[in-house]
Symmetry: C2
């Protein structure tokens, strides 16, 4: 059979679950991992261990791959351009990926295509920060008061994730901190929001696109804790607007594959773009058990330019809760308990060593009663982490 | 994490799909395959290539496995006993597996525990066959007429599958054929049946068991073509009887893991056991997309003595259709067509070279309208095989 070879760069849990989704598709999956103990490297058939920042390694890896895609955004843009020049299809391509790698470029581009973001400015020093904070306070009717955080968020334009590379600061002195990394800093208005949403879409090279139901993403300490699909009590008009924004971004930025658009739903009913990710995303894990076609399967279908699968929900409510590492390194006893307590629970472990706060798995639950579905997911995730007893 | 290692013997599609199911469970999966191009060997992380009939190979493979299980029934019983004597958990164990390996032993055992089978007898020669045929004809009100098949089925007691090792014969001369293999031959009455059913259950070492909905299995030329879950218009009382039979067999024979009980639903409303398989089975493939917990996930949970997952259906109707190889070796174009035609279709390819008549994949569909669900599955399977045009 002439089924194609997909090369995925990065050995984390996203690659692990993409491989899982590729098995029924008959796809030949090839992995470039940092080490043999990476989450995906433990389960994939064809694994190359090497440095994704090294062009020769990438070129060797790309040989025999029909398309290259990604578990993360850390491959240097110039290397991806070199692979493209070699004739290797890179999906999403470097021109699109730039906007997932560089928050400054992303904001500029979204402004240009009229997609609403929080107010923002690239800042050069603490004085810039203080000036922007004064403007933001004015616009948001907030105040810049001594002893309180400024109404701005500072972000490194490259390399941040899960709350890393993000700062809240109180004064000019604290505002110096983000500049120490030597990377440009983006200042964004802290918008008053009701909750965070995610509008996830998948787009193929020939322009077909599908939109998943808009979900609510509940963050704890800057890390995604729970995702509820669909977002409860979201007015249809607002959900459609969020989906349209995501589809527009995918098209305008020529994204191929899964695009996660993280959004703020503001107190005044707007939806503003927070972050973009051009790969399968934590806010889409619920689709494995809750949608007709998972984000992982559709990402593969997209990068191979295959027709996309149905993104609709299979259940009235699906809830995904992340399992973070706790103080106790062995989760197997807790896992057994969770299976016994809830035979409908879906557990997804990543094969990673447990470290406090590390994402080591997730659970999903589904059903008609949202309170019950949420409670079951929260119990399982908390029990596995060790933060709640029976 | 101390997640266990499951060693599976046999590299076919059942092992491939078991590995797929083991990824989210966080199970470490180790495979003993005949060759690196085996269906499962193409996608599994840890693959040992070796001969499953060689005890030293089995012993080497078993080292480091927490439990051994199977993709097929072809490992010699004495080797499994040797592994058990070494202290390796073998699940299902050799004492149970014997009844899936030897149809004569299976019939004798089912008789002993009062489970109904077609009338049967171990036969030694063509005269025995003719005598049994005369009795069967009498009992079934059928006739032994010249030029017609006798009302008996002859089976080699070991090694048959998918219509292989099974004979219909017309006379004493043809009845000599099955004896040429030098293996004992079982003669069974050809019961007048309405259709074939399968009652699939999963049982764990500590005795927990779950029963999947009873399905209808539609055979074409002795090979499973379509499975419908649940079996349409099956009276509840009869479905429960079939599930009870399967649960009783699992308990009496001390089966651990998935047990498929293939049944005849007779014209007079009885359910008789046709075959047993102690592993994931073609009649259970629908559970991947149609049940809360797939047969593969539950097989793993059972052999690891983990609590079992919910076996209930997620849809009103689920239909699985096997994809057999046709004359054209490349299925990729057809696969693309099927995805485009039906975004809800679930395709499962086995990564096997296409040969005419070979099972190379399956498709599943689900929904509320059985006629539509069946038509979609049949179209996709037929189109992939190349037997129907658009």
């Amino acid at each position: 059979m002439t089924f194609p070879v997909v090369g995925m760069i990065g050995g984390g849990q996203l690659a692990r679950m993409t491989h899982e989704a590729g098995i029924p598709l008959g796809i030949n999956f090839k992995l470039l991992a940092d080490g043999p103990q990476d989450s995906a490297a433990r389960v994939a058939g064809e694994v190359v261990v090497g440095d994704h920042r090294d062009l020769d390694t990438l070129r060797d890896f790309a040989r025999g791959c029909d398309v290259i895609t990604f578990d993360h955004e850390h491959v240097p843009t110039e290397h991806l351009r070199a692979l493209e020049a070699d004739g290797v299809p890179v999906r999403p391509g470097p021109a699109a990926l730039l906007y997932a790698q560089d928050k400054g470029a992303m904001r500029e581009r979204l402004d240009a295509i009229g997609v609403p973001s929080p107010r923002h400015r690239l800042v050069r020093d603490p004085d810039d920060v203080m000036a922007f904070a004064a403007e933001a306070a004015d616009g948001a009717a907030a105040s810049v008061a001594a002893g309180q955080d400024l109404p701005v968020v500072l972000k490194t334009v490259r390399g941040g994730y899960d709350g890393k590379g993000v700062w809240l600061v109180r004064d000019r002195q604290q505002a110096a901190e983000p500049f120490r990394a030597g990377v440009p800093v983006l200042a964004e208005e802290r918008v008053p929001f009701v909750r965070e949403l995610a509008a996830n879409v998948v787009r193929s090279p020939h322009g077909q696109a599908v939109a998943y139901p808009v979900v609510e993403s509940v963050q704890v300490d800057g890390v995604c804790d729970t995702v509820i699909a669909p977002a409860p009590e979201l007015p249809t008009e607002r959900a459609v607007r969020a989906q349209e924004l995501a589809l527009r971004i995918a098209e305008e930025l020529d994204v191929v594959g899964h695009l996660a658009v993280e959004l703020f739903e503001t107190t005044d009913g707007r939806v503003l773009v927070n972050e973009l990710a051009m790969r399968p995303h934590n806010s889409g894990h619920w689709t494995q058990d809750g949608a007709v076609t998972s984000q992982f399967a559709n990402h593969l279908r997209a990068v191979l330019d295959l027709p996309l699968g149905d993104p609709r929900s299979r259940a009235r409510w699906t809830v995904m809760a992340n399992v973070l590492g706790g103080d106790y390194p062995d989760m197997y006893a807790g896992y057994l308990h969770c299976m016994a307590r809830d035979p409908e629970l879906k557990i997804h472990m990543y094969g990673k060593d447990v470290k406090p706060g590390r994402k080591v798995g997730h659970v999903t639950t589904y059903g008609d009663d949202l309170a019950d579905v949420r409670a079951r997911a929260a119990h399982a995730a908390g029990y596995l982490r060790g933060t709640i007893p029976e």
